[in-house]
């Protein structure tokens, strides 16, 4: 069979299974519950583990445990639940383990609402938990990308031994689109020189740990980890450029906001405004160079976000504040309309709105 019709949440679940993930730990929360529900149905049939933990905190620590054995493992939640997971995520990062965390964002802060949001950008890209660490953060903007980036997120996590995050939002999680699922691969259990799989009295113990009692050792670990981060920033930046060739103005938007922005850009082009889009696909590492290059040809930038303005800070840093950067946003579960983004574009180039 070719394409199937899926919700974004289901696409992540099926793609994870096809990427060889056989361990899922989670706790239901709107708007990502279909992901857990799908895993609950599928995992028992393929010899995998689905476990609804007693809390998000329990779930992320179960992820920590399986990650230590070198198996592909994931958890998913929505904003308030991902906040609860932060301690565990920091431990996983501090133990140099690969794992996938999915955040299908909803409006906040606090319990907030159940409608879509992008207001966990800071949390996802700037740490979230304590300590010096990064996650590889991928931002899908379609159901197809939900599937494709799930596989990519696992691959990148394994490659660098860094936890990765899919930062989606309620709309992409809930919407249904046709999707071509990636080929299924059987789980691979290759020996890893760090995985805790039992010594069988044939090798020294592997120790997975984030506690270092000697500060010199902990500093050395941090230096090594940041060398890994440097390689990731060098090799793994991904973004989409849309109508940027002759652009005099640049919209920056990710996820669902980028889809709205594209419609606005087409409308603005019809009015003769030379505007394009840079859509960060990796939010960390952020496409700094693409934006810095855009600043050489563009007079101004517009950051379109479902938040009070978070990514806009990275846009300003990337271009060293060399051009004006304006914000076009909605918050609390609301999505800017193409007309609102178009008005933002007009304002950016000094036109009457």
């Amino acid at each position: 069979m070719g394409k199937v019709l899926m919700k974004g949440n289901e696409a992540i679940a099926e793609a994870a299974i096809r990427a060889g993930c056989r361990h899922y730990f989670g706790y239901p929360i709107t708007p990502q519950t279909e992901l857990a529900a799908y895993m609950a149905k599928r995992m028992p049939k393929i010899g995998g583990v689905f476990l609804q933990a007693e809390s998000e905190i329990a779930a992320i620590n179960m992820v920590y445990g399986v990650a230590a054995t070198g198996r592909r493992v994931m958890t998913s939640s929505s904003s308030p639940g991902v906040s609860l997971k932060q301690e565990g995520i920091s431990y996983i990062a501090g133990s140099d383990l690969p794992a996938l965390i999915v955040n299908v964002q909803r409006g906040g802060p606090g319990l907030g609402g159940i409608q879509p949001s992008q207001s966990d950008y800071f949390q996802a890209t700037k740490g979230g938990g304590h300590g010096d660490y990064h996650l590889i953060v991928l931002a899908p903007c379609s159901v197809q990308e939900m599937a494709d980036m799930t596989a990519l997120a696992f691959d990148l996590a394994d490659k660098y031994r860094v936890p990765s995050m899919l930062l989606a939002d309620g709309t992409i999680g809930q919407m249904m689109e046709p999707v071509e699922l990636p080929q299924a691969q059987e789980p691979v259990f290759e020996e890893k020189d760090w995985a805790v799989t039992g010594t069988k009295c044939k090798r020294p113990h592997h120790i997975v740990n984030s506690l270092y009692l000697v500060p010199e050792e902990l500093e050395k670990k941090n230096f090594e980890r940041f060398e890994t981060y440097r390689r990731i920033e060098e090799n793994e930046v991904r973004y989409e450029a849309f109508r940027m060739d002759d652009a005099e103005y640049c919209v920056v938007a990710f996820g669902i906001a980028a889809r709205v922005a594209k419609n606005a850009i087409v409308a603005a082009r019809n009015e003769g405004i030379k505007v394009g889009l840079i859509r960060p696909i990796t939010l960390w590492p952020f496409p700094k160079k693409a934006l810095a290059d855009a600043a050489k040809q563009c007079k101004g930038f517009l950051s379109v976000e479902l938040s009070m303005g978070q990514m806009i800070e990275d846009v300003k840093l990337a271009i060293d504040c060399s051009r004006p950067v304006q914000l076009c946003n909605r918050a609390g579960g609301m999505i800017p309309s193409p007309d609102e983004v178009l008005a933002g574009i007009r304002a950016l180039c000094g036109q009457e709105v």
Binding site: K3, L5, M6, K7, G170, Q174, R259, V260
Partner: protein, 225 residues
């Protein structure tokens, strides 16, 4: 009804099925079609599972056409609370109106139906339709769909009386997309002994299928196209 899809329409028509199989779109289109038949029509959205896209989204269009809409008190708000409105009792007990029920997905959604089932069975004038989309990953085959069908029957305690083939690939649906699922629909019919009551598809398509039911899709947010 003009094209006689259901013969004489039943007093209560229910749309159940795997979530994402198109129940809400069908319920809205069916209620609008039914409204032209002289008897007042009420549509109840009792989907306690899906927080985002639902038949109550089409409230204005339905009410403009004269269809009464009953929905969860907190539908389309931030309150994710599966409480059911008391008006649904009126809908299953009053026999002077035609009722259309849009039930939530899977067995979990069908649980909400249980409390109304005694009234529906007592009256005995209902069509309980299993909506199938063979392009959904968990109901791609007749035997997979059968599993979901049985789970829903167990949860709702209301037997199905027919199958609706609503197979589609969203915006990429073609005539062929629909036609290729007819064999699976027939197989599900053979497995269950239930008739394929109709096959539904976007109104701009003209697939070569028996008992076709063209439908107009609910308006999704055009901003994402």
């Amino acid at each position: 009804m003009k094209n006689n899809l259901l013969g004489e329409p039943k007093r209560v028509t229910l749309f159940c099925g795997h979530y994402g199989s198109g129940k809400s779109n069908l319920a809205v289109n069916y209620a609008l079609r039914l409204q032209g038949c002289g008897v007042p029509v009420s549509l109840a959205d009792i989907d306690i599972v899906n927080p985002y896209f639902r038949s109550a989204d089409s409230r204005r269009e339905l009410e403009d056409a004269g269809v009464q809409v009953i929905s969860l008190p907190f539908a389309n708000s931030n309150v994710d609370l599966p409480s059911l409105p008391q008006e649904v009792y009126g809908l299953v007990q009053r026999r002077d109106i035609r009722a259309v029920l849009d039930v939530g997905g899977d067995d979990r959604g069908a649980l909400a139906l249980g409390r109304y089932v005694p009234y529906i069975l007592e009256e005995g004038n209902f069509a309980n339709l299993f909506v199938a989309n063979f392009y959904r990953p968990l109901t791609q085959t007749a035997s997979d769909a059968l599993e979901v069908l049985r789970e829903i029957e167990q949860a709702s305690r209301l037997p199905f009386t027919g199958i609706v083939n609503n197979s589609n690939l969203g915006s990429e649906t073609t005539e062929g997309t629909v036609e290729r699922t007819m064999s699976a629909a027939r197989e599900l019919s053979d497995l269950t002994g239930l008739p394929v009551v109709f096959t539904s598809y976007r109104a701009d398509l003209h697939p070569n299928v028996p008992n076709g039911f063209p439908i107009v899709l609910q308006r999704n947010n055009p901003a994402f196209s």
